[in-house]
Symmetry: C2
Subunit: 244 residues, 2 copies
Amino acid sequence: MTTEEKPASRDGSGPARAVVLLSGGVDSATALAVARNEGFHCVALSFRYGQRHEIELHAARRVAQSLGVTDHRIVEIDLRQFGKSALTGDIEVPKNRPLEEMSSAIPVTYVPARNIIFLAYALALAEVTGSQAIFIGVNAIDYSGYPDCRPAFIQQFEEMARTGTQMGVEGRPVRIHAPLLYLSKAEIIRRGAALGVDYALTHSCYDPDAEGRACGQCDSCRLRKKGFAEAGIPDPAVYVSHAG
Amino acid sequence: MTTEEKPASRDGSGPARAVVLLSGGVDSATALAVARNEGFHCVALSFRYGQRHEIELHAARRVAQSLGVTDHRIVEIDLRQFGKSALTGDIEVPKNRPLEEMSSAIPVTYVPARNIIFLAYALALAEVTGSQAIFIGVNAIDYSGYPDCRPAFIQQFEEMARTGTQMGVEGRPVRIHAPLLYLSKAEIIRRGAALGVDYALTHSCYDPDAEGRACGQCDSCRLRKKGFAEAGIPDPAVYVSHAG
């Protein structure tokens, strides 16, 4: 879809709807801005899943509001009983590991099947809101080594959804849009900045302090800092200052 | 996999594990018995999803216990905010509709993306328990017209999971077993009876009364009654008696 033509809803009444997965980080905020720029009326979907960095939900609310979203749903899901991730359990969040290492190994911050669960809920919400698209801010370049951020995964999820949902069976399959898939973090930030995203509202850190300041050392902070540096745009995040 | 060879766990320590989706109805109870008979150590997974017929969770507990399951997880998910199904909302459960109609149209009891959400959670549980299989009791014959009970859907979900999970990436993909896929309800009941399933413990009705008695008139009750009748096995369910 080009940005020139605005999508219409299937029954011709008003703009087409899209469900946008919104974590409150740089990528999902940018994906929301892209969806809006393509003319979709956006329903935002966030999850409270026992994440350490629940402050990101506040960021998601601020981002949704700033981009004109009027329908933002926050779904409670409990991944903690499935344990085993540094984002939900009590494994230590790794700090200052080499950036090269990130895309070659699955990190302990991987939450089992997380994007699969998120996309499954997004599908359900797409069915009940009559949305013809789901936007997800995954990317395959600076992607931290998560298997559920890969292009083949997104494509196979879409195919599965075509077969397994009422909309698909009735010839109105939901398309999964991953507009950041092939962009570097710097390109994502440039794209979002051009679309008016206020990145001061976003939150990236896996391990913020009590005041919500970013650690600056986890994978997510380091990818963010590198992205802003390469984009030549000042990073508005507030970081804890570390000695050394 | 034949029933003669017992699956071994990948590290050779003890039997292989499987996650079994267990609703407490005839089909999932039979799928659990099949998994157990194939030599899997079973982890049962049920959901409290705002269903009208929450009594089925009691049935799931009884069934799990009777078939020797020691690890049974019940996950809370809230599909009610996604509305729109007779199983979770306040649409009337249809009664006494012709059986021929069931497989030709998607009924109002369809919960958007339900099996996709359930299988996504099962994948997460498979990852954290080191399970190499997921058993789901869907079938494509007497299947009430749900799109997420079709063979192509199961196959595509398995492919998506191979790409999108840590286990898949590491060459240990989870297999989705749907052992009832091509069986009629009567064949399912005969199979389960032969494996020692006590169907008196199961619950099928979408619209039970306050004492938990089955209505006998919803799609699920009618498929169940027809199945037991065709299998030549007495149905142990307790039905409300209707005048006329």
